[in-house]
Amino acid sequence: MNKIRKNYCGSTEHAVSRRQFIGSAASGIAGASLFAENALSAELKKQGKSVILLWLAGGASQLETFDPKPGAITGGPFQSIQTSTPGVRISELMPKMAARFKDTCVIRSLNTKNGDHGSASQLMMRGRKDEASLKYPDMGAVLARELGKPESQVPDYVSFYLQSEGRNFSGSGFLGARFGPMELSKSVMPENINKPDHISESDFLDRMALRDLWSKNFETGRSSGTLASHQQAFMRVHGLMESQKLFDVSKEPQKMRDMYGPTQFAEQVLIARRLAESGVPFVRVGRAWWDSHGQNFETHQELVPELDHVMATLLTDLEDRGMLKNTLVVTLSEFGRTPGINSSLGRDHFASAWSCSLSGCGVKGGSIYGKTDEKGEKVIEGEIGAARLFATIYKALGINPQKNYYVGSRPVPLTDPGTEPVQEVLA
């Protein structure tokens, strides 16, 4: 029998606009209009806020991180430890985060109903499901748009994903490639960001100027969103090349590099800090791959202490630099893992009761939101889905979750109408 998937369309009532089904792209120029900034938005940009998303790809186990159930039949072998907040305990695998829990809020009550890697990561990167004819921008694209500067010389949205498993290039949807990610999938240095040796600096600029001239000529009497994006892409080349040094971790003192640690993940997170420090509004560091269907405890013994150390180091580093109040550090996956332990001592996909964390900018540090039952099988308090999580993240950054973008003339709010941020999470 086909089970009805009540969540398939994202909400019980789409809030569907008639337009989308009657050729919303019927107008000549497609794409979101880059309408004038309002004063609040401009103000935010002055404050230079950033988000660093630690994307725990594959589905990290909430039971082995933020919502341990020691002693329960589903609890597994790990203990819980006291955090710096009385009454709050997290997994023993995270002693460093436990000690500096003061800036972190853990949400334990995510119920996102989707246990498929591909579509769930789309959901958790967008806060909603795409519609038939509307591709939503993901968190990075939205924040690049909201927090980035139009004339910025640094990229707005950087995404590190160096492992080959589970890589699905997120996207800017209807916001267009202007707000698309700079994807780093082969190395921590963006591809083609260095001027090649066979051309001098002045020749490089000269030929670019020549190109710009042809471009201007061609644009006379013609217009299209895609045409505009072509021009914009080339306009940004020089600035992006200048930002190459941000990706060069050797520019950090060795002491700092040692502090973060020797692993690939550690290095990327350090680079993320460098980027945020230079005004890049959104950096995603994907740490693959948490999908421990077999040997869940062994895998988490490897991965959680790394996360614990790197995340704690990042928060302390940001704090030392006076950046923490303007930087939001998020840990998130596409889903969590089953309370049930399978025969290979693994945990499988589980989206009914899982956790994420928010630290820094705009959140109530040292707190927990939401509760799961004794075995961690379901949420018993404070259940939220992707939509409310996103509303909360936007609000924490001072962005109105009901702010509208426009696709053609259709208003598209950042989150569906009626989606409330979780006030208890916000500072």
Partner: protein, 331 residues
């Protein structure tokens, strides 16, 4: 043995996942322990096998040693606890290791036992007075070559107890002199450890069992093969047999009908047959013939087997594992 008969005589379903078993000699009784942090005493011939059950640790119990009326348990909480077997009364608790105790094995003379844990230490203990007589460290590195925490999974004595061997996650094997702690030999079984730098960037596997041959000349190590998708234990079971004095690998056996880890290894007293048992999604038993150099017989088990306590020259196998106890008779 000629495998004319491998019969499951008793199949007991359990709520817990069992990692350790110790049999009471000449009886159908045994102590089992695992994921509910408890120790249970069972009589597997009874219709209601569980006699009693008592809390023992604050994490998974992975080791049980039984000598006369002394029962010793080891667990992921790093503690070794001495009990009076007959009553279940706690005698003594020691913070034996700083990290997860993975295995404990009794010496042939019944006076000592060895424990291994993720603090990468092999420790020799006196059963009677609960004192540590020797500690071997320094050989098994705490971090893998990829800078992640390593684990020390298994240990075994040879027939006269003068030698003890240990094997860690990366496949590094060490043979020691039991009471001097001197390192005698090392060898490697790296195939059993898979580090994936590209797709998933972590590791899986590592040898989980080790055993000396009755003549002490061979050392067998059990685990799994190289894994492609490290989200699963998807490779076949694997056993490597070394001439440990020469640090030379002699044979490799692959359980081509079953996937997973070989978690229990045991030589038949005749020295010719080697039993490996374990599993992943399913469980298996494999009988390897050292003369013929092949896996002579493979059998599916009703669950992923984590430990076996055998008696009567392997004619009676008490296997424990994922939510189940099996009593198997062989002929």
């Amino acid at each position: 043995m000629n495998f004319t008969s491998i019969k499951v005589e008793k199949n007991i379903a359990r709520q817990d996942i069992l990692f350790a078993v110790a049999r009471v000699p000449n009886s159908s009784k045994a102590f089992i322990a695992g994921s509910d942090f408890k120790i249970s005493e069972i009589d597997f011939q009874q219709a209601k096998p569980e006699i009693r059950s008592f809390p023992a640790h604050s994490s998974y119990v992975t080791a049980l040693i039984l000598k006369d009326d002394t029962l010793i348990s080891g667990a992921y909480d790093g503690k070794l606890v001495w009990w009076k077997a007959s009553s279940g009364e706690k005698i003594k608790s020691i913070d034996a290791h700083k990290k997860w105790i993975r295995q404990a094995t009794i010496s042939p003379d019944g006076k000592h036992f060895a424990s291994v844990a993720d603090d990468m230490a092999l420790k020799i203990w006196n059963i009677a007075d609960a004192k540590m007589v020797r500690e071997m460290t320094g050989e098994h590195k705490p971090l893998t070559p990829n800078d992640f925490q390593s684990m020390l999974y298994a240990c075994a004595f040879n027939k006269d107890g003068k030698l003890v061997a240990s094997v860690d996650k990366t496949g590094h094997i060490v043979v020691w002199e039991t009471f001097t702690g001197k390192k005698i030999a090392t060898m490697e079984a790296p195939i059993m450890y898979t580090w994936d730098p590209n797709a998933r960037r972590h590791s899986i596997g590592g040898p989980r069992s080790i055993a000396f041959s009755p003549d002490s000349k061979l050392l067998a190590v059990g685990g799994t093969g190289k894994i492609g998708n490290i989200d699963h234990l998807e490779a076949n079971g694997r056993v490597e047999v070394f001439n440990w004095e020469k640090s030379e690998r002699l044979h490799e056996f692959v359980t081509d009908k079953s996937k997973g880890l070989v978690e229990h290894l045991e030589f038949h007293p005749d020295g010719n047959i080697l039993l490996g048992a374990g599993g992943a999604g399913e469980g298996f038993l494999a009988f390897m013939d050292l003369k013929e150099k092949k896996v002579a017989h493979q059998e599916k088990a009703a669950m992923n087997i984590h430990a076996i306590a055998s008696s009567d020259n392997m004619k009676s196998l008490l296997a424990v594992g994922h939510h189940r106890v099996l009593h198997i008779k062989t002929a």
